[in-house]
Amino acid sequence: MTAWTGISEIKQKIAETSAEEVTASYLETIGKSCINGFITTWDKALEAARGIDTGGHEGPLAGVPIAIKDNISTTGLSTTCSSKILQGYVPPYDAHVIEKLRAAGAVILGKTNMDEFAMGTSTESSYYGATLNPWDAARVPGGSSGGSAAVVAAGEAPVSLGSDTGGSVRCPAAFCGVVGLKPTYGCISRFGLISYANSLEQIGPLATNVADIATLMDVIAGYDPRDSTSINRENTYSNAMKDDVKGLKIGVPEEYFGEGIDEDVEKLVWDAIGKYEDMGASWKKVSMPHTKYALASYYIIAMSEASSNLARFDGTRYGFRADGDNWHVMASKTRAQGFGEEVKRRILLGTYALSAGYHDKYYLKSLKVRTLVKQDFDRALAEVDVLMGPTMPTPAFRIGEKIDDPLSLYLADVNTVPINLAGVPSISLPCGFVEGMPVGLQIIGKHFDENTVLRAAYSFEQNTEHHTRRPGEVA
């Protein structure tokens, strides 16, 4: 187990030794791993690091190793979405974020495990087996970016990228005791991110500390004409690294402490809010009355979009192909054998929700409820600067505990999905431990006001010790 090393310490190590040595030490740690966080390591990582050493690269991430979720396209490096249907697929192009990372000098270590097509809260639905939580190998790391969070927590990568459609960066960040940001919708180009639910998802960074999140955002955010929902807006995220929340107005949505919340989690989040008060911020309760309908609305929209987005996986152009004597039979068998159970359930439900006779009842209704959820955020965030609550209602649950009951897994996303419906930014950072398992505090901001969210998170980190605790060896 290597120590948790942030970007600034990595750069120092590179200056003292070399990028190649730093990358080699991470590859060695990955080689000994027993958490199944990586699906693939990049066979050219050392070569890339050597290139940084000899080329005198001066990019902001020169030689910094990074792990990438396996739904983000990487030229020449297998990208599977943890699905059998994409087994052997090697993208012929880089995602926008990968182009940016390479230009900044980052060294890609490999691709991380996830719930198949990012559909899950536990990383148990991967075709490549579950990832284990570094704090307790009997528990899930959260999902769907479980690999990206677990490898950072285990010291197998200093930073990583995930994607967040309904909590898929924040949930595993909370369960693994690291920091994860879901940026404002439109902040980061989705070009090259394999779509699950494109009106909801954003790529997001994971790290052991808030400053590294800001450093990554400075590299990967920005306008890209290849994503028509990308927004042209300049921001320097690292400017937000100030230990100052004096006068910050915090809203606490009472609905985020609803049915099913663990008492100890609730207490830790209130302790955190109390800490903010000590630091000079003020708080008040706010009401977001449509929160209880967000989950159903989210799942209907996500499944509907998924049923359309995943139509492209038909065995014709890439990936797995089953035999069939005409195209329809070939495609139906390919998809039946190539997709896992949860992906098929979501495709079927999405197809059903969009089909004649049900479109208005399910899909259109969900889009209208989405408007109401978004208005809840608009109203609440007109009165306060940020909203705070628990990222997840409980600490990480046990492997196998929920996987056979899809609805019980969906319910775990109750505090994360409303944020994606509204498109606002949200961060999860460690705020304490329950029976040795980390708990995440969620801080939500206004559209494109990542800097207030990051400043609030940074200030908390500077005044607490939670982020310094590390998992022991997982046997």
Partner: protein, 93 residues
């Protein structure tokens, strides 16, 4: 309630083969989720417009300029099923 027959029909629409044994299991699991979705019926959405997208961007255009495409051999590099520069699939009709 989604019936076993509807599950098989939706499976065909989505091009996911479902055999008779599986359709029972799917119907049960899908119904528990659809039951939960039914709670949206209690929300009053009269006069509420739908939100397809959270940002105020509509009709994003680009200049109609011809650019180089990805080379054909690269496009075809992820399949063994190809012939004379095309993807090869079983007959459609």
């Amino acid at each position: 309630m989604i019936t076993k027959e509807e599950v098989e029909h939706v499976g065909w629409l989505a091009r996911v083969e479902i055999d008779e044994k599986e359709s029972d299991v799917y119907a049960e699991k899908l119904n528990s989720v659809l039951d939960y979705f039914g709670q949206l019926d209690e929300v009053d959405t009269k006069d509420v417009p739908p939100t397809y997208h959270v940002m105020d961007v509509v009709n994003v255009f680009r200049e109609d300029v011809v650019k180089e495409s990805m080379p054909q051999d690269i496009v075809l590099s992820n399949t063994e099923h190809k012939k004379e520069g095309n993807f090869k699939s079983p007959r459609i009709m």
